[in-house]
Symmetry: D2
């Protein structure tokens, strides 16, 4: 914990973070509009929110929006590398005075260990004078998982003993979590059970987290209602597509400075992320070749003017290879072995196994770091490939991820989900829910002014003609946008 404390004492860091937060606020009109709308009514008064989500500048604006709406908040990051220490420090110090920290407790530091990670996650669930938080705000589902596993452990009365690293069943994440559970069980054998009873719900940011929640619910194990923020239109169709359109070329540029114009770029996948990637590369004058397994997305790619091919058929033609699939083994060693010399290979999909990094390490290719997050791997025949961010998300590893404006649409959904769970809980029985379309539209609406958009309003007569409420929602749930 000392690292965290060290950081929060660093006022220079906090000051730099405060600058970044101020600039980001300008670019997060959705969150600022929610402060404006709900600042007086304090809908989150009384709520204790445990947040687990990348501790960045944008998240700082989210956190301070939650507190501005009346909530008490504790925060951890959902990834050991993604914390921006200056943002963390600024949140701890708070928006008021630097001399007397009055902000939100943050348990996150860039480069924390896995063991620390689970300890920090435990810390956000620990509230003096209370059994725990009342709502969880989750990204990937680790905080939710810890509560559920805690309840299970308390029911079972024990936690499996630690494994040695050599043990084939050893999983560093599982060990980190069990370490925390073991200590909790020892100290207070009903803590998680009481805590779960006091939690009204969770709002989840990601596909992965939603997938976990769906599975828990299917198994009948879900302990409280969940809101799936990921599938709001203003999340999935904005963050995924327009975020990548921005951050993919940014990452490539910062990593390599190599011209994209006139080159051939291979994009694996034409979902929302792939659509944004292809658009960005074309916008830089590259010729994009798409691969797809889904015939509908493949047909879309073709109709949008892209060549659609298999990687093995074009592997010797492309200069850039970008994976966007969420699947594994998209780019394999045999592909890299057949690429042009100095082909650039990166991932903006999900996990680092989209590119077979493990296979590459085993392949005998010679590894030469070029600069942080940029590595050259040279094959026996002398040709090399340039791997960005070791196969992890290059837009985060080589650049700074999605810009604030795009995160504002995602995070406004998070805030609305938190309000729904706190003041409108009866609408969300045990299960996994999407936000009602009217809130999705509200999020969109709050971002229009900043872009100079003037919305047309339906007349009463027109609304009657269409059989729609005059002020929305305007579309059936299955509408695809």
């Amino acid at each position: 914990m000392t690292t965290v404390e060290h950081i929060i004492a660093d006022l220079a860091l906090a000051e730099s973070g405060r600058h970044q937060i101020r600039l980001a606020e300008q670019e997060m009109p959705g969150l600022m509009a929610l402060r404006e709308e709900f600042g007086d009514s304090q809908p989150l008064a009384g709520a204790r929110i445990a947040g687990s989500l990348h501790m960045t500048t944008q998240t700082a604006v989210l956190i301070e929006t939650l507190t501005a709406l009346g909530a008490q908040v504790r925060w951890a990051s959902c990834n050991i590398f993604s914390t921006q220490d200056d943002a963390a420090a600024a949140v701890v110090v708070g928006p008021g005075t630097f001399s007397a920290p009055s902000g939100v407790p943050v348990f996150a530091v860039k480069g924390e260990t896995i063991r620390e990670y689970w300890q920090y996650t435990d810390r956000i669930l620990t509230w003096d004078g209370h059994d725990g938080p009342t709502i969880i705000l989750d990204d990937g589902g680790d905080a939710t998982l810890l509560v559920h596993e805690g309840v299970k452990a308390e029911k079972a009365g024990h936690v499996p003993p630690p494994l040695e690293e050599e043990d084939p069943a050893y999983n560093i994440e599982v060990e980190g979590m069990r370490h925390v559970l073991r200590a909790s069980l020892e100290q207070d054998p009903t803590r998680f059970t009481r805590m779960a009873a006091g939690i009204v719900g969770v709002s989840e940011e990601t596909t992965t987290g939603v997938h976990r929640l769906d599975q828990m619910h299917a198994r009948g194990e879900l302990l409280f209602p969940a809101i799936n923020v990921n599938d709001s239109v203003t999340k999935s169709k904005f963050d995924n597509r327009y975020g990548i359109r921005h951050s993919l070329p940014d990452g490539i540029n910062r990593a390599t400075d190599v011209l994209m114009g006139g080159k051939v770029a291979f994009v694996a996948g034409y979902g929302d992320v792939g659509k944004g990637a292809a658009e960005a590369l074309r916008g830089q004058g590259a010729r994009v070749i798409v691969s797809e397994v889904d015939p509908i997305c493949a047909l879309q790619a073709a109709m949008d003017g892209y060549e659609v091919a298999r990687i093995e058929d074009v592997v010797d033609r492309a200069d850039f290879f970008i994976t966007t699939t969420g699947n594994k083994d998209i780019i394999r060693v045999e592909h890299m072995a057949a690429m042009k010399d100095k082909a650039i290979v990166g991932n903006v999909g999900h996990f680092d196994n989209e590119i077979d990094m493990a296979g590459l390490a085993r392949s005998g290719a010679k590894h030469q770091p070029i600069k942080p997050q940029v590595d050259e791997w040279t094959f026996a025949d002398g040709h090399s490939v340039i791997i960005l961010s070791e196969g992890r998300l290059l837009n985060l590893g080589n650049a700074t991820g999605h810009p604030s404006f795009v995160m504002s649409t995602s995070f406004a959904n998070q805030v609305l989900a938190q309000i729904e769970l706190w003041v409108n809980l009866e609408a969300y029985p045990l299960g996994v829910h999407r936000l009602p379309k009217v809130l999705d539209e509200k999020v969109a609406r709050s971002h229009l002014d900043a872009l100079g958009v003037r919305l047309t309003e339906l007349t009463e007569d027109q609304a009657d003609y269409l059989g729609l409420p005059q002020h929305g929602p305007f579309k059936p749930d299955h509408y695809r946008y």
Copy 2:
């Protein structure tokens, strides 16, 4: 009926239609693939299909696909203007020999009257030796309506007497339908009741028709299951968007020959049709301004780089005004009165009331036809506007509508829906259903070869990793593409 008979005797027409059909087949790979796949197994053997859908060249390929799969078919158009007489004649004559017409009975002629229209609709429901068809293929729902109203009339034992045109309740469509019902009731007072009992279901092409079906079902009046073809991804996201991208500039060009490049084009609505319209106009070098009532679509338009404004704020800046909304009164007389001289105004949305043509006629503006489907209306101050297709769909009125390839995706869904109703009926209880995603993907798949697309295949291992069937379907139902 003499007009129809006159046409089918015209072998020159039929020959020209046959040429067009042959060229269209090349561009409708989805339908041709279904002929290939199901030609031997004849899944529609025994089915009697009553089709009501624009009688064009593309529809001819659809009809001949249905017969190639074993069905017996009778056809009418769903619009009094949309029939292409040469295609109709060719379908009647059939693909075999011209001397002995062996094709499908078609009851449709360009410019038929409303009364004829309902008589023709009645004719497709009349099958010698049977109570009626076994399946309906509908566009807009008129054939389905006639059956439902027939059953009601037979229950009631009478049809309301005809109204005079002067009567304020007079509706020419309703009168046309009642005229037919009255004759039927007189001749055979249980005909529609027996017919409905023999109909296994209907597949519906359009939003409007689906809306009617939903309402019937909500009222408990629906007599047989319905499949909503409109909301297949390969229909709504292809026909609507890519069809308009093609046919909007085509219509403007044929109507006016006016340069789009460098001009300002106002597009009302940013749904799928609006997206296609905006893309087409931008692709010609126009600067596009979009209007929207839905904040999500408005935000999409902005993120796609378009100005989003209200019509009243830009009415004096635009050179083209295109409506795509499905709503009414989008462009009103006060707007047209304020436009630049010779502004071009057209609709690709739905009904002609998107542009207030009735108001324009009452406004005192002077009407001057320029050429068929192109009219100039001059206001008192001397400026004029150019109205395309009298406010009706300009891509049909001034050009030839969507190209065959796009219709192939829509119509392949229709054929699959017909097969589902005929051989897999138990999956479709009374109600309004969408086609299963696996069929949507099948439709997409059948159009890939023609575009040179080579699809990637999931390995078993990858499919397991994703928890998906190896050959699809690949996405959850709420996926938005």
Copy 3:
């Protein structure tokens, strides 16, 4: 000549032409601005202009601009097929009253014979009470050629005798011209010599005409100064590029109704015409492959995101083949024999020999007309290609050519060239000249308002800093735009 007279008596034709002219005026702001600027000062007063240029609606606006500036005008078309009879009739009748034709004598009718063509060209050089015109406005150079050949014939004292069609040296164009010269020499053996002496210059529209002038001048035979209008920026960079961007997809659509989106389009040549063609096809969602012989243009195409390949390497992949080169034998029979079934082949370059139509006719491929200007040629293996406009310019043959706005930039250059020759002749000694950049900029300037462009003005201080005149010209002559 009777055909022409027949036309001009047809008031319905004239009325239709007048409508078209009125609408075109709206789209030709450059010409209208010149009427506005020079209507009072009448700079062309006293000029007798012999014009030889496609007699279309746009040309009618040009002609009436010349007369509005004080000129007397006589007109012929420069192509036997390109006359729009209604426009011709309207020009003859004149803008005033229909009962008393008061317009400009026009000698042109759609489908005139070659012999008539040369007689009509002779007629525009024949001015009652004068030796001939004072200025020529030429397109392709035939009027200029006739004068030069006339002078030569008068010097020689004879014209070669007519050849029989069977004679290998027979050239129908040359025979047509000699027929006219022979008659003139007989009637007045010094007519062309006196005429040439009275001509102050010629302004030439096209690359081909400029090439002829350059050659005449190189041989020392040029009789009067010439202005090369073709190479004004506002001609070559606008007409060629933006005109084709408009009229190429228009021609393809009207000819075939085939979807371009998702298809592969091969464009031969990436000059200004090729650039416009590629942009238009991409704007419709096609994937464009370019071929080039010039490495600079090839590199531009690549940097603009197009695949650059040879036709033989992609001939079996493309759905559309468009030639834009000005060269011959671009698409040869061996290519067409290897294309996909029903590939569409057309030319927007120059002459019909870009596609080897003669070779195709000799190849044994079976010819089947589909509709006017659309022909199917079927090879022995059963696959066919669709040829547009028999290999001639498809944007003219299948659509209506460049739109008025684009022609307005070209024709404003023509009018300014005529004024320069008439009032500023000393600036143009014997030779072939381009218009000064200040006039090129003037043409551009006169088209800005219509597009809503507001130009920024240099301050005096800024102009001094740049060492430029405050109001232009702004660029050195070699600037490439």
Copy 4:
């Protein structure tokens, strides 16, 4: 000079530079092709080249190409900030061994003083055992200027005495140069005169340098022939346009991380740089508004689909302001005072006076650095603007300038110009020349393979038909591409 020596002793720097050079070689196919073609024949053998051009990684590849062709080279940077020390060190150490520096003497260090700058320039003109270099390779013309001023000073026999900084005539650049001249005159009063006599010519990279050369030649002062590399097509139409397309969004991203999509971007100027800037911003989903003083460029911008307006009319609508003009006072304090809060302002044109930074400093706006090269200036009303790179070239200041591939086209022209001056001097009499088109085409040709371009070749018959050499050059000199 110690700084320079310090650097070259830093082997870690040199090693890092060598890595960068190796990667850049891959992206500079034009230079590598020249090594391949001329490596054996050594056309630059005997040449002593004095180079003054930004000492970057790309320049390192240029330098090592010159030596590979036989030249001896000495190098300085043409800008006190642009040196990349690692590249400089690597060039000094040479491609061979690190222990015994065997490379090219480089006199440049990032952040050198103005006085050092002129001393370094003097050093590249100083060759042991010779009167000076035989050729100059210049960027901006300072090396050439120094020689010309040296000759003048030697003629005059004196250099004006140094001025005090307070003197209104004081110019730090002029003082730096005179300091060097004074020392030279003292030591060797005919040094520059002898040196100039031995220089066969100069090749110049930039518009500014060419402008100086044109003026010298107009005044009759030019001492040796000059080749204008700037106006090769493969320089001005590639470096300017495609370079900025790449490096503008890169600079904005690294500086601000602010989303461009959906925002309004104002671009001053639509020359080649402006065209590239507008394309890049549109490619990121921004809506671009262009300003222009030249009506031809303004019309191009409109035809390319951009709004064209004056800054004062849109200053409160734009989120980004980018200058590309080469002019001064484009964005003035009154504009910045009227911008939206946190508008981002940057320059990619030329000098920092495109944005009135001096006026801003005087305006009373409060300056707050955000991070290096990113500054916030807050006006009295509370709104602020973000200035990138203090108004200097943001693509260099906030990112890394043009990518290697684009510089390869520029630098290949430089190498060819050096060869022309050394082996083909008789073709270049005293004056300022452009490279012959055949060399421009050669440069383009050498970049095609890397982009997968396969060039079509004219047949002899086609070349005859066009009247062109079969292998180029293909276009007249005035062709605009």
